[in-house]
């Protein structure tokens, strides 16, 4: 019998084979312009060349640094204000309407403005990522703190906890699962939007690679960059999930 791990690879390999097959058929019979569908080997050769010259690492690094800085900024602010809004009703009453009005606006709609405000360099990209990753963390943190089981609070009070103890030793750990969910959503969103941010006036980054590929009709470069983004996103998600499982082992049954 095949193990689960082996089975998971089969569809992926089939997909690559089909892609290779169609691109070969197209190159032979010219169903449409062959440039539009390079073969998987073309893409990997292109990636390998980019890697060899050190350019790929450079682009990945540029994107990662923007994502991480923006995420730290946005998630940090989201966590801080979410905790405040969850713990103090007046803060929630003041902050929530603003958040609820801004939230439905796709962050991308604000990107051009941010470029005008903060320039075309790194600042606007980091702030843009920060803005995007603020919302999930803010909302899950606030809801998490607000929805802490009142019975746990009562139990802590009878055990001698002060208001301060309640906040640090009951409310925060109790809402940890929600907070972590928010952080995971945020980092995912950051990867979603970084590409768009790098379409606008960037000379490095995976988004730039794609945009640059479009300008010069470099199909393998566009596809290669997209694949790298996929792999990066997947790896980070796996990493976060592993951390989550470690931190929240008390949630697992039996």
């Amino acid at each position: 019998m095949l193990s689960h791990k082996t089975v998971r690879w089969i569809p992926l390999i089939l997909l690559l084979l089909m892609w290779a097959f169609f691109s070969r058929v197209n190159q032979t019979f010219h169903l449409f312009n062959p440039i539009l569908l390079p073969s998987p080997t073309d893409v990997f050769v292109e990636l390998w060349n980019l890697f060899k010259t050190g350019k790929l690492v450079d682009h990945i690094q540029a994107s990662l640094i923007r994502v991480i800085l923006g995420f730290l900024l946005g998630a940090g602010l989201g966590l801080f204000s979410g905790l405040l809004a969850g713990a103090f009703r007046p803060v929630q009453d003041m902050v929530e309407p603003i958040v609820e009005l801004l939230r439905p606006i796709p962050p991308l709609a604000l990107l051009p403005m941010m470029v005008l405000w903060f320039g075309i360099a790194e600042t606007s990209k980091v702030i843009f990522i920060g803005y995007t990753s603020f919302f999930p963390v803010f909302i899950t943190t606030m809801e998490g703190i607000k929805n802490v089981d009142p019975l746990l609070i009562r139990a802590a009070l009878t055990l001698g906890a002060s208001r301060k103890d309640l906040f640090w030793k009951v409310m925060i750990p109790a809402s940890f699962p929600q907070i972590i969910t928010g952080l995971r959503l945020s980092i995912g969103l950051s990867f979603f939007v970084i590409v768009a941010a790098e379409f606008v006036a960037a000379d490095r980054g995976l988004g730039f690679l794609i945009n640059d590929g479009r300008n010069f009709f470099l199909m393998p470069q566009m596809m290669g960059a997209a694949i790298v983004i996929g792999i990066l996103g997947y790896s980070i998600n796996t990493l976060v999930k592993k951390m989550e499982r470690r931190l929240l082992q008390w949630r697992e049954d039996q």
Binding site: L152, R154, A155, T158, G160, A174, W250, R251
Partner: protein, 257 residues
């Protein structure tokens, strides 16, 4: 003279919701003495949990007063440990950490906290499970952990709100014996809410039978059966059926209303 451990003095509680007010407790007075085991028995919705919550200090009576050792109860305190029906354990803490939770707020050296937590885990027979999380425990073990946690800061009063209500019959009887054993080792004044007649007769020194809404005292019955009590003896059965009868009138009143 001797002040009672707990005095509930002409307590009345009215809740109002959407301009609609309803009286849950009316004219309730009782004195509970040191190390006494008192059971509050009544049909569901008679306000027995409300009363217990007021003794705990979660909220105040509308009129009347509750005091402990002569001091008015105004807020929750480490002097009154509470055991909840839904356990209310901290799921992110291990058994040992759950029991140490209350000890960490008293300025004790770390070693002492650990020792005292272990003593109480041992008392409820959970010492070998100290590293487990609550989710890894059975219902009976969870409630034992909750009892250990409530006892650890050494309260003189233990308030128990249908603590064994969610356990199966077998576990329930074991837990009742456990509680009596613990009560013998570390004597506490216990106020125990239940709707099970046999549980009240098995455990309590006195049983307070309550009327249905608003909850008042219908009758206070002293249980003079010597311990250890036999659930299958004649005296036990007689007293149980006598209380059952009183209770049934109240249940009928609720269903006819």
């Amino acid at each position: 003279m001797n002040t009672p451990k707990i005095r509930i003095d002409r307590v009345e509680k009215t809740f109002s919701l959407n301009g609609h007010s309803s009286k849950v407790i009316d004219d309730f007075s009782i004195d509970i003495s040191h190390s006494e085991f008192v059971s509050l028995l009544g049909p569901s919705g008679c306000g027995k949990s409300t009363l217990l919550n007021m003794v705990a200090g979660f909220f105040l009576p509308t009129t009347g007063q509750i005091s402990m050792d002569g001091h008015q109860v105004q807020s929750p305190s480490v002097e009154r440990g509470v055991v909840f029906q839904q356990f209310a354990l901290f799921p992110w803490l291990t058994c040992l950490e759950n029991v140490s939770f209350g000890l960490r707020f008293q300025s004790l050296p770390a070693k002492e906290i650990l020792d005292r937590a272990r003593v109480h885990l041992d008392l409820v027979g959970l010492l070998s499970h100290e590293k487990k999380f609550p989710n890894q425990l059975s219902g009976g073990m969870k409630q034992r952990l909750a009892i250990a946690r409530a006892l650890a800061p050494s309260p003189s009063v233990l308030l128990m709100d249908e603590p064994f209500g969610s356990l199966d019959a077998q576990t329930r009887e074991t837990m009742q014996d456990e509680l009596l054993r613990i009560q013998k080792m570390v004597p506490k004044t216990i106020l125990f809410v239940t709707h099970s007649v046999s549980e009240a007769v098995y455990l309590a020194d006195r049983i307070v039978v309550m009327t249905a809404s608003p909850g008042t005292i219908k009758e206070v019955i002293s249980v003079d059966i010597p311990r250890p009590r036999d659930r299958y003896s004649n005296v036990f059965a007689q007293l149980s059926s006598q209380i059952e009868k009183i209770l049934r009138e109240e249940v009928k009143k609720v269903s006819n209303a």
